[in-house]
C-alpha cells in the first residue's frame, strides 16, 4: 500500500515535472518571440514618430490618381507638344482590369501602379531638357513617382509608380 502510494506519487511528480519542463520550453519560446516583437515594436514606434512629422492629406483612390495622371499628361501634350504614350509597367493584355497590376508600396495600405511613359522623336538636347522639365512638373503635380529615366533609340523612357489607396 505504502509502496503503491509512493509509486503513484512518483508518477504524479514525473507527469508534473514533464508538464513543467514543457511549459518551461514554451516559456522560453514565448520570451524569444516577445523579444523579437519588442524590438519590432520599438522600430514601429520610431517609424510612427518619424512619420508624424509628415503633413497629413486626405488619401486619394488609385483610380482617381490614375485619371488625374492621364489628364495631366494630356495637358502637357496639349501645351508643350510633348507626346507621352502611357503604358503599364508590365505587359498588360487587352481588356484587362488594371487592378490586377497593383503592387505593394513602401506605405502600408497604399497601392502602386507601375507605369511607363514613352516620349519619342527627339532630335536635340533642348527638346530633351524641355521634356525632362515636363516630366519633373508631371511628377510634382501628380502622385506619380519616377524611378528611372533613360534614353533608348532616340526615345525617352520614364518608369515609375502611381500611388493611391
Amino acid at each position: 500500500m505504502n509502496k503503491i502510494m509512493l509509486v503513484i506519487a512518483f508518477g504524479i511528480a514525473v507527469i508534473l515535472v514533464n508538464s513543467g519542463l514543457t511549459l518551461s520550453s514554451r516559456t522560453m519560446d514565448i520570451k524569444k518571440q516577445k523579444n523579437e516583437i519588442m524590438s519590432e515594436n520599438s522600430a514601429l514606434s520610431g517609424e510612427v514618430d518619424q512619420k508624424q512629422r509628415f503633413k497629413k492629406n486626405v488619401p486619394k483612390s488609385i483610380s482617381n490618381a490614375f485619371t488625374f495622371f492621364v489628364n495631366e499628361t494630356k495637358m502637357f501634350e496639349t501645351y508643350s507638344g510633348t507626346q507621352m504614350d502611357i503604358a503599364f509597367g508590365v505587359q498588360a493584355k487587352e481588356n484587362e482590369n488594371i487592378e490586377d497590376y497593383y503592387v505593394a508600396t513602401g506605405f502600408r495600405n497604399v497601392k502602386g501602379l507601375p507605369l511607363t511613359i514613352n516620349v519619342e522623336k527627339f532630335s536635340n538636347e533642348t527638346d530633351m531638357a524641355e521634356v525632362l522639365n515636363d516630366i519633373y512638373l508631371l511628377e510634382n503635380r501628380t502622385d506619380f513617382k519616377v524611378s528611372e529615366i533613360s534614353t533608348e533609340n532616340n526615345a525617352l523612357i520614364v518608369k515609375g509608380e502611381l500611388y493611391g489607396i
Binding site: M5, I12, L21, I30, K51, N57, P59, V110, I135, T151
Partner: protein, 393 residues
C-alpha cells in the same frame, strides 16, 4: 522507581522500604516501576540466532508445543543458537498490567532473572549448580541456576530445614533432567545452596554436612536484583504489541504519506512555478502583440495620410536642371549619346555616355560643380571610343 514482586502476594519497594500487599489492595501512585513475577515457565530451545524474526517465531512455537495455555514469552541467548525461553500466562500479564499500567513499567522480568542479577552483582560464582532458597516469610521460593540457565521457581510452604532439604534436592534433580543435553559440562552432580535465611543456612549445614551452603544477606533478593537488571526487557500483552504495531504501521504510513506528498509537492511546485512563469510571459507577450497590432494599425492609417507628402518631399530633383548643368559643363566637342536617371528615395544617379562629335577632339572634361566628384571612364561602344559619366545626385 518502584520495584515489585508478584507472587501470591505483592511485594513493593521504593528502593528502601518494602511492604507486602494483597492482590485486591490499591498499590498507590506509581510513576516508574520494575517488575518481576514468580509464576514463570521456562524451557531451553534451539533456534537460528541470525534471523531474529524467525528465531522468535520458532522459539514461541516450541514453547507453545510444551505449554498449551496462552503464554507471552521472552527469550535470551544462552549459547550459539541456544535460547532460554520464559513464558508467563497472558492472563497473568494482563492482571499485572491492570495493576501497574504498561507505560509505567521499565522492566518486567521473571523472578529468577532478578535473583540472578543480584547474584551476578554480588559476584557469586555461577559456574556450578546453585539452588537458591528465598525466604519471603511464610513462603520459600526455590530456584535452581546453572550459569545463565534457571529452573521454574517452586513455592514451598514449610519452615524447617529438614523439610525443605528434600525439595531442594528434588528441584536440583528435576532441573538436571530438564536441562538434559543443554546442561553445562561443568555440572557434576554437586550443587551449592544459597539462602537469605541465616538460620535455615545453618540448619541445612547441620542436616547435610557435605553440602555447600551460603548465606546471602538480603531480605528481598528479587527486589534488590531488579535494581541491576541490564538491558530492560519487558513482557507485553498482545493487545499492546498489536497497538504498537498499528502505531508503527501508522507511523510508517504517515512517513510514506509525507514522502509521497513531498514528492508530489515538489512536482506541483515545479509545475506551478513554470505555470506562473509561463502565464506571466504569455501575458507580457499578449501585451506586446496587442501593442504591435496597434502600432501597425496606426502606421496603416498614418501611411495613408502621409504618403502624398512623403512623395512630394522626395520629388525635389529637377531632371531638366541636372541635364542642363551636365551638358553645359561638357566641352562643345562632345555630344550626349544616351543618359539615365535611376535610383529611388533620396539617392539618385545620373549616368550618361558621351562621344566626340565627328572630326572633333576628345577634350578634357572639367571637374567642376556637379562633375567635381563624378565617375568618368573611357569606353568603347560599337567600335567607337567614348566616355561614361556617373554623377551621384
Amino acid at each position: 522507581m518502584n520495584y515489585l514482586l508478584f507472587n501470591n502476594e505483592i511485594f513493593i519497594s521504593d528502593g528502601q522500604v518494602t511492604r507486602t500487599m494483597g492482590k485486591g489492595e490499591n498499590l498507590g501512585p506509581i510513576e516508574k516501576a520494575c517488575l518481576c513475577c514468580v509464576d514463570v515457565d521456562v524451557m531451553i530451545a534451539s533456534a537460528p540466532q541470525d534471523y531474529l524474526d524467525k528465531k522468535d517465531s520458532i522459539l514461541a512455537q516450541k514453547f507453545a508445543a510444551v505449554y498449551s495455555d496462552e503464554y507471552i514469552t521472552l527469550n535470551e541467548r544462552i549459547d550459539n543458537n541456544i535460547f532460554q525461553v520464559f513464558g508467563i500466562k497472558a492472563e497473568k500479564v494482563k492482571e499485572i498490567y491492570s495493576l501497574v499500567p504498561s507505560s509505567k513499567v521499565d522492566a518486567f522480568v521473571p523472578y529468577a532473572i532478578a535473583v540472578r542479577s543480584l547474584l551476578i552483582n554480588r559476584k557469586t560464582d555461577m559456574a556450578g549448580l546453585i539452588v537458591f532458597v528465598d525466604d519471603s516469610g511464610h513462603e520459600k521460593l526455590i530456584t535452581v541456576f546453572d550459569g545463565l540457565k534457571f529452573s521454574r521457581t517452586r513455592t514451598i510452604y514449610t519452615g524447617n530445614a529438614e523439610d525443605i532439604l528434600p525439595d531442594i534436592k528434588r528441584s536440583h534433580i528435576d532441573f538436571n533432567k530438564k536441562l538434559g543435553e543443554f546442561a553445562s559440562k561443568s555440572v557434576t552432580g554437586d550443587f551449592a545452596v544459597i539462602t537469605n535465611n541465616r538460620q535455615m543456612a545453618e540448619d541445612i549445614k547441620l542436616s547435610e554436612p557435605g553440602l555447600a551452603v551460603e548465606f546471602l544477606d538480603c531480605r528481598h533478593p528479587a527486589l534488590e536484583g531488579l535494581k541491576f537488571i541490564g538491558p530492560p526487557i519487558k513482557y507485553r500483552i498482545h493487545e499492546e504489541i498489536i497497538l504498537e504495531r498499528k502505531k508503527e504501521e501508522m507511523r510508517s504510513r504517515f512517513m510514506y504519506l509525507i514522502v509521497s506528498i513531498s514528492i508530489c509537492l515538489a512536482g506541483i511546485l515545479f509545475f506551478g512555478f513554470n505555470q506562473i512563469t509561463y502565464s506571466c510571459a504569455s501575458r507580457d507577450f499578449d501585451g506586446e502583440k496587442l501593442k504591435n497590432s496597434r502600432l501597425k494599425d496606426a502606421l496603416n492609417t498614418i501611411d495613408q495620410y502621409i504618403y502624398q507628402d512623403s512623395l512630394r518631399r522626395s520629388k525635389d530633383l529637377n531632371y531638366s536642371s541636372v541635364f542642363f548643368e551636365v551638358s553645359g559643363l561638357l566641352p562643345s566637342t562632345y555630344e550626349i549619346s544616351s543618359f539615365k536617371f535611376t535610383g529611388n528615395g533620396w539617392h539618385r544617379v545620373f549616368e550618361t555616355y558621351i562621344f566626340a562629335q565627328d572630326d572633333q577632339f576628345y577634350d578634357e572634361i572639367p571637374r567642376a560643380k556637379i562633375l567635381k566628384n563624378a565617375e568618368i571612364k573611357d569606353f568603347f561602344i560599337k567600335n567607337r571610343p567614348g566616355k561614361y559619366l556617373k554623377v551621384d545626385l
